[in-house]
Symmetry: C2
Subunit: 432 residues, 2 copies
């Protein structure tokens, strides 16, 4: 880590650290001469470098011994994590994406959020079957190989658990973007439009809903209006190019763009076409929002626009002292595409527009950046997403005013990180 | 696998396989009734399904025991592979992406192509330094932490080895898209525009080239015109969201959009600003193209437009018999974006336009599909990419006419797969 003490030492050694106040620069005596070739370049003296690394002098290891590549050992902390008290048993658990440690927008499958209600089952392609039944002209059963024969599409979509940030309803609780906002991933899914398979079966006029089940013990049954099923839902076979991971529903899962992750049924087994909604467990006692008057909001499928600053954040403090600082984060909307992100350094009093690094498409993560010159004063960092419907991400207090404090799901309120003079970052609440 | 024998057996059992001639469908007695709920759905009798899977009756395994997720064991064949005779020693080797088994456009890092000339070195972030030297006002050394303070961009780019398909110059040799075209990957890279770092150092007017070196023993030094360096080159810190893998140059590599992979220097150590090209080993004796008259083409940096059918292909034969068949593949151009892909079923006599599943941006992979009704006749499958410069991918023979047979690099000729009546696929040559 570079800190001000190191810089002082370098200045004492005659090394220029003045430019923009932070670069650990070395005025190399021989560096000003044009390089005549590789040999000349290697002769350039550089005391700093020979101190730390025995450069370009020894061969590394071969790579072909690794059957499937893994991150380098130095990145062992960049993994999914769970919160042990959140669920009763590891058979029903949640693994959060380490969003604080990632950049760009794609989530690698190896650390991508997943939630399972009765364990991750192992289902081979040979054993796999998908049934379409109910109000259809021709009930069908598809093998995995049958599915290979239908037209496929590719889309980058986010999958967010309805409970993402749910533990923040009552106030700042969890110290890390991974835990407050990590029930989300963003992958390039490829699969067959569900519409194509439903048309193959022939949906009858009275078929106004579908009821979707997985092959795991929970079944995780969910109802969905036929309009969504015939619109952009995918029967997905791959994520980020490769077969789905076991914990993401291998070999086939449903992808329901923009809608809560619980509807993205894994180990997809059956799609029943029905006249009305089933009102099963996962859409009545769960995945509804208890309002202050005792009634529950239901069918709250779409994930409203939301954003979070991933760095700096509690797990990613500022370790380089004052001066240039890159603030970055993620923004998304389950109702369309993000069009703008604003960032506040003072808890929502003043806002400035962030630079969009990746403009995610509909229902995909966007990456934003704001570069500032940090003077070392404490900050209250916030981000605020706007989507192409004109919706602006609200404050937590504005949400609480309407929904009260009974809710678990659908907290898309603005998150606040307090940054202290020493660079440490903490999850805090500010009034709005 | 579903084959015609299976279908016959199903028809004998009274199961309807007539619709479009391939679906393994079951007319379920109870399936026509509306589902009343999860319980009712589970009561639907289905002899096919209970035969193969003890559905929804047992819990799976917890997921949190896995520190970093890996593919399910059934996908153990979807890994990088090398060709043992291709390089003298595993210290200097190549690992090919299993493109035949992937869909969409993103390559997971765990199976993404990599080439190393003196092993994959292990370099920690703390030990990392990047030097900018030569014809600059202020020679600079950046720590990894310094680099975190500069503005970053995110781009999906392909990285293709100049030698990709190089073994095909003399004729069809390797039986698999992984081996003929797998020296490529496509990831979302995030990093700092090299321009920003060069401007920090202050490039002098006589600085017309840069010379880039890695920290591995090979150094892999490459020269590049300053115009490219100041245009779109990135000093990349992450790929697909996470830190670069060791074999992809952890912690920092150069990304040179559209240009041959050898210039994407890994374990990036030094950028020297020079008056002229260094003409080092990797750009004279290697990575040049020996022409029939004994002279060598050099500075052939940009990868010309190219495509390949990934399925069906020799490693991905047709196993489902006649009827609906999805033909799919990848297309790319190092001079811009792919605008169109055509597919031929008869070795280039007739062409039809493929459907673009993902329209890759500049210097990114595109995914194409063509759905056909296969009558079981032999086919000679080819694909042909066109990019936004108007360039059309040539035949191998057209390339050979000009470049002869001495070349190793820059073979972007049209590939041919012979598909036989039994669905097997083979790499073949056809005259053009």
């Amino acid at each position: 880590m570079t800190d001000r003490t190191d810089d002082d030492a370098l200045e004492g050694a005659g090394i220029d650290v003045s430019r923009r106040g932070f670069l650990r620069t070395a005025s190399l005596a021989a560096g000003g001469a044009a390089l005549g070739g590789a040999a000349a370049a290697q002769e350039t003296p550089d005391p700093l470098i020979t101190d730390v690394q025995d450069w370009a002098s020894a061969t590394g290891e071969g790579v072909d011994a690794t059957p499937y590549g893994l991150p380098i050992r130095f990145e062992g902390d960049v993994v999914r994590r769970t919160v042990s008290w959140l669920t009763a048993d590891p058979i029903s658990s949640i693994n959060f994406t380490p969003i604080h440690a990632l950049d760009g927008t794609i989530t690698p499958a190896g650390c991508a959020f997943e939630r399972h209600h009765s364990g991750a089952i192992e289902l081979s392609k040979d054993d796999y079957r998908l049934m379409i039944t109910g109000l259809v002209d021709r009930p069908l059963v598809f093998t995995w190989e049958d599915l290979q024969r239908f037209p496929r599409e590719n889309h980058v979509y986010f999958c967010e658990c309805a409970a993402n940030s749910g533990m923040e309803w009552g106030g700042a609780q969890l110290n890390g973007a991974q835990f407050t906002h990590g029930m989300i991933h963003n992958m390039e899914y490829s699969g067959i439009p569900l519409r194509v398979l439903l048309e193959e079966a022939g949906v009858q006029p009275e078929g106004q809903w579908i009821y979707v089940e997985g092959a795991d013990a929970s079944s995780n049954g969910r109802s969905m209006p036929i309009e969504k099923a015939m619109d952009d839902v995918l029967v997905a076979l791959t994520a980020n190019g490769e077969a789905l991971r076991k914990e993401h529903g291998y070999p086939v899962r449903l992808v329901v763009p923009g809608w809560e992750g619980n509807m993205w049924v894994k180990w997809l087994r059956r799609i029943g076409v029905t006249h009305s909604a089933v009102e099963a467990r996962e859409e009545t006692s769960k995945y509804t929002d208890l309002m202050p008057d005792g009634r529950a909001r239901k069918w709250t499928w779409a994930m409203d626009a939301k954003s979070v600053i991933t760095s700096p954040s509690p797990q990613k403090p500022i370790t380089h002292g004052t001066g240039p600082l890159v603030i970055t984060g993620l923004a998304w909307s389950g109702r369309g595409a993000v069009t703008r992100v604003d960032v506040s350094l003072d808890g929502g009093v003043n806002w400035q527009e962030a630079r969009i690094g990746t403009q995610g498409g509909k229902y995909a993560l966007s990456r934003f950046y704001l570069e500032i010159d940090w003077d070392g004063s404490p900050m209250l960092l916030q981000s605020r997403a706007t989507d192409d419907t004109g919706y602006v991400q609200p404050t937590k207090d504005a949400l609480r005013e309407i929904r009260g404090l009974n809710s678990v799901y659908h907290n898309n309120g603005i998150q606040t990180w307090a940054v202290y003079e020493n660079g440490a970052v903490e999850n805090v609440e500010v009034g709005s």
